[in-house]
């Protein structure tokens, strides 16, 4: 994962002054310092929790603030040399809008050029910070309104954890926002940690038992253990990649893994099973599970090899996050927070084992793998959480999916960190909510003889993968140096896709009505790889199987 993308992984927010009702009571922060320049007046400051923020207000400010929440940033530095994450330093630099590809500010510029003000906080602390970030955002909105009294509307958006924070803001303080757009929305912490943790536990259990995988020691020792885990995790992924075609296992495999290897189980099948039981997508940045090189592997590659390679790419995201988020949440909760003592991994893959049977090498191999990973196998010890820590973690912000204000979600159908199922959970919850609202309206009609249909307040946009996108070189080897395909990777949106959301968000936020019909369809088509499909139902995160 690119560092810049990692930084936007999960995010948080801002400040509050005191004038708004139902806003947490906090110390009064100083007014922002503005440079007063034109055409953009840039302001900086900090909310009462010390979170830095930025505001940018165009000279032709139209009265609408677009508040952004950035994604997850680890709360610890990551030493150089660690794949994907190496060289990261903890930062609370505020971010007022999405950065296309990690650095392109064109979306922010577009908003400013159209008269919208933008703002964003860097948040007081990094890591899983939704509770504090929601309060920070509430304060920031109030501060902005005080500083710019012309403000009439506020819309909010954010990505990943920032999407979760945005949804949480709308659930908790609906009076503060006119519309929201949680993008590549993270699910509740338990669901996220379960997905990432299951994969990491599987890698540890089969491929390198020296990975600690959680229950880290306190302080510097725990930090060292986690960084060591990252090194081991990415090292073993490298070995798995090398063995994909031959089926060879890493030399660090556990006794359980070595027994499977001796029984003829290909490592790629084991890897794929781990990804499926964690709920990872089987399409990734460079592997579509559709294409094969010309020649004898034309069909064998997409059928038997590509899904495992997709899990390898997606698992790098998931496992890396698992280490960093586990370290973070264990510190917050005071003990181990990943628990799979009761997880039935066989049930997890009941459907997938049929669909990916060939890549999993058949039922005999699948049953051998599931047997090896079962709680009954002492060679695959399960991870037990600390009950008090779990209780504390579960007390953190949990989004119900209640839609209080017009809401737009957008997520890649093959996002490996915040799977499409997280956005689907919101859509399903809203389906029940809307049905109840409709019933209420019908009952009201019986009394008033006037039917006021409830507004449909949720639009779910899915960023889709191209029909086929794996490329091969002249030797038939897959090419992995190209940009990630649309619909894959984490929060991997084009500028055009962001603008679809920006236009819809600001329109519904200011007018109360969505852009709809042909005009909206045209926007989707123009942006490419976007769809609205009320029948598309990506599976919920596996966490919900056990609830």
């Amino acid at each position: 994962m690119k560092k810049s993308r990692l930084i936007s992984l999960l995010s948080s927010v801002a400040l509050v002054s005191m004038l708004v009702i139902a806003i947490p009571s906090t110390a009064q922060a100083a007014a922002p310092a503005c440079d007063g320049k034109s055409p953009i007046n840039s302001c900086q400051g900090a909310t009462s929790d010390t979170a830095p923020y930025v505001m940018q207000v165009p000279a032709n400010f139209n009265g609408t603030l677009v508040l952004y929440s950035h994604g997850y940033r680890p709360d610890v530095p990551v030493p150089a040399g660690i794949p994907g994450y190496g060289g990261y330093t903890v930062t609370n630099t505020p971010q007022p809008g999405p950065l296309v590809g990690g650095s392109d500010t064109s979306v922010i510029k577009y908003l400013l050029s159209n008269g919208f003000a933008v703002a964003g906080s860097g948040f007081a602390r990094q890591g899983w910070n939704a509770d504090s970030a929601i309060a920070t955002n509430a304060e920031l909105i109030a501060t902005f309104k005080t500083q710019f009294p012309k403000t009439t509307k506020v819309v909010a958006w954010g990505e990943s954890l920032g999407g979760f924070i945005t949804q949480g803001l709308a659930e908790k303080y609906p009076e503060l926002v006119n519309a929201v757009a949680p993008l590549c929305l993270a699910d509740n912490v338990g669901a996220e940690l379960t997905a990432a943790g299951d994969f990491l536990w599987g890698v540890k259990t089969l491929f390198d038992p020296s990975i600690k995988g959680g229950n880290y020691s306190a302080g510097a020792a725990g930090y060292g253990e986690a960084m060591g885990d990252l090194v081991k995790f990415f090292t073993v992924l490298g070995k798995l990649k090398a063995g994909v075609s031959t089926g060879a296992w890493p030399d660090t495999a556990s006794p359980t893994g070595k027994a499977l290897e001796a029984a003829g189980v290909p490592s790629r099948s084991a890897l794929l099973l781990l990804g499926l039981m964690a709920g990872l997508p089987t399409q990734s940045a460079h592997f579509d599970s559709i294409s094969g090189p010309d020649g004898p592997l034309k069909v064998t590659f997409p059928l038997a090899i590509s899904p495992a390679l997709a899990i390898l790419e997606n698992g790098a995201n998931a496992g890396g996050l698992a280490v960093l988020a586990t370290l973070d949440l264990e510190k917050q909760a005071g003990g181990a927070v990943f628990d799979n003592t009761k997880t039935d991994y066989s049930a997890r893959v009941a459907n997938e084992r049929v669909i990916f049977n060939a890549a999993l090498s058949g039922n005999t191999v699948i049953d051998a793998l599931l047997g090896a990973l079962s709680a009954a196998n002492p060679g695959a010890p399960r991870a037990a959480a600390n009950a008090a820590a779990i209780a504390k973690m579960n007390a953190l912000q949990a989004n119900t999916g209640k839609i209080n204000v017009p809401t737009i979600t957008m997520v890649g159908v093959a996002d490996p960190i915040t799977p499409a199922g997280a956005s689907m959970r919101i859509a399903q919850a809203y389906a029940d909510q809307y049905a109840a609202e409709k019933e209420k309206a019908i009952k009201a009609f019986a009394k008033t003889r006037t039917y006021v249909p409830p507004m449909k307040k949720l639009i779910s946009i899915w960023s889709t993968t191209p029909a086929a996108y794996t490329k091969f070189d002249s030797t038939g080897s897959p090419i992995t140096t190209t940009a990630a395909a649309p619909g894959t990777n984490h929060c991997n949106f084009s500028a055009a896709q962001y603008l679809v959301v920006a236009n819809e968000l600001t329109t519904v936020g200011t007018t109360g009505s969505f852009i709809r019909g042909g005009a909206f369809s045209f926007m989707l088509r123009k942006a490419k790889n976007l769809k609205i499909d009320p029948f598309f139902t990506p599976p919920l995160m596996k966490f919900y199987n056990e609830q």
Binding site: N363, D432, M455, F535
Partner: protein, 435 residues
């Protein structure tokens, strides 16, 4: 578990927001009459995903052209209630993720009225999970897989099976073995997935024990040296009769390798793996099938005394470039023949709902080339339920043992295997169902 209200979801997730305009009456639920998706005044568009290229394509890639040939024949004779049928064919290469992508295209871009005869258990299951024709109300007619799970109307509400289930087939093969090879040591080579699981369930239900069972992972039949390990195990296990419950490419690999290794048991081929066209296309001489026993639910393709065979051969000559008339062509045309009747039964202005209702209500009485009845009803989406046994000749043609079709029938549950008393109704005049 989060509460999921599927019906409500359909309503609520409709695309765009409606502003809260006050109107004086509750809007009527009835919509103004309009054409169903894929249906115009002159045409009905159907779609199929099937392996047209790749290792799994030989034999199966003849199904679409056979279906098209029959549709062309019907179209040339006025169509179905004046509408001509078109069939959009997508190549899924037998790869589940590709089947999902191609089915999405059929539904969302090509806007077909119904999906027809998709092939492969994994593919159909992947499509059901990701594309969800059931929730969309898109009929999935006459799937080309005998996986018993697809008869689960609750899980697959718009899907209709056609082939007898693999459980049915295994139970019937078990009966045949008991009647003919009770004193022999029996071996089983089976595909190690849901296909094979169904077979194992059927054999278990029938109380048949095997001296040796050899599973193979789908796709491994093409790997160098793998088929030899099968034959070694079967031979070492002393199997005198071997049941092959896999795909035809595995049959070809097994029989070809056995011939080289001088292992010559009595071979009993399941219906999926007994396609001579596929075996020949893989470079295996059809002669390796000679004297093997096979099973089928349609008449022998060489049986020109059969009125369906005669008609379909004529259509094949005129509309299908006179392709080699094998079981794939026959089954393809028969599938199209059923489809035409289903559409006609759906009324003058067919809808997807009406199509499903028509098969549930009238499907059991549809004319058909098969020698076993269709089991469709309001509670059953199960197609055929029986097989007859025959012997392969030197060119790979399957002919009924004793010269007559002796059909066995049963169900996917605990029902007994019995000799069928089914009398196939006469074919409609010229093979054109009444409109």
């Amino acid at each position: 578990m989060i509460g999921i209200n599927r019906r409500r979801l359909l309503v609520a997730s409709a695309v765009l927001a409606t502003s809260g305009l006050a109107i004086s009456t509750v809007p009527a639920q009835a919509f103004s009459p309009r054409s169903e998706v894929g249906v115009t005044a002159k045409t009905i568009k159907l779609g199929v995903t099937i392996p047209m290229t790749g290792a799994a394509s030989p034999g199966y890639n003849k199904l679409p052209s056979a279906m098209k040939a029959y549709f062309d024949y019907v179209n040339a004779n006025g169509g179905v209630k004046g509408r001509k049928i078109t069939l959009v064919v997508k190549d899924d290469q037998y790869v589940p993720t590709l089947a999902v992508a191609k089915t999405n295209e059929l539904i969302l871009k090509d806007k077909v009225f119904a999906l027809l005869a998709p092939l492969g258990t994994a593919n159909v299951k992947a499509v059901a999970a990701s594309v969800n024709p059931g929730r969309r109300g898109v009929p999935t007619l006459f799937v080309n897989t005998g996986y018993s799970g697809f008869a689960n109307k609750k899980a697959y509400p718009t899907t209709f099976t056609l082939l007898p289930s693999y459980i049915v087939e295994a139970k019937i093969i078990a009966q045949y073995l008991k009647e003919n090879f009770a004193d022999k040591k029996i071996g089983l080579l089976y595909q190690d997935d849901d296909f094979g699981d169904d077979a194992l369930a059927g054999f278990k239900e029938a109380g048949l024990n095997f001296a040796v069972k050899v599973p193979y992972a789908s796709g491994s039949q093409g790997l160098s040296g793998v088929p030899a390990t099968w034959i070694q195990k079967l031979s070492t296990g002393g199997a005198e009769v071997v049941v092959l419950f896999g795909v035809s490419s595995a049959t070809g690999a097994a029989l070809g390798t056995a011939a080289v290794m001088k292992y010559a048991p009595k071979w009993i081929l399941g219906s999926v793996g007994g396609d001579a066209t596929t075996i020949k296309a893989l470079g295996v001489p059809a002669g390796v099938l000679y004297n093997a026993t096979g099973a089928s639910f349609v008449p022998a393709t060489t049986d020109t005394t059969d009125e369906y065979i005669k008609l379909f051969q004529t259509i094949n000559a005129k509309y299908n470039n006179n392709a080699v008339f094998d079981n794939n062509v026959l089954v393809g045309m028969n599938t199209a023949f059923l489809t035409v009747q289903a559409i006609a039964a759906a009324g003058a202005n067919p809808t997807r709902k009406a199509l499903i209702a028509a098969i549930e209500k009238k499907g059991a009485s549809f004319a058909s080339a098969a020698l076993t009845p269709l089991m469709y009803s309001a509670t059953s989406h199960v197609g055929y339920s029986g097989y007859w046994f025959g012997t392969y000749g030197p060119t790979g043609d399957l002919k009924p043992n004793g010269g007559t079709y002796s059909v066995y029938t049963t169900d996917s549950g605990t029902g007994a295997v019995v000799k069928s008393t089914y009398k196939r109704p006469a074919m409609p005049a010229n093979g054109l169902p009444a409109n």
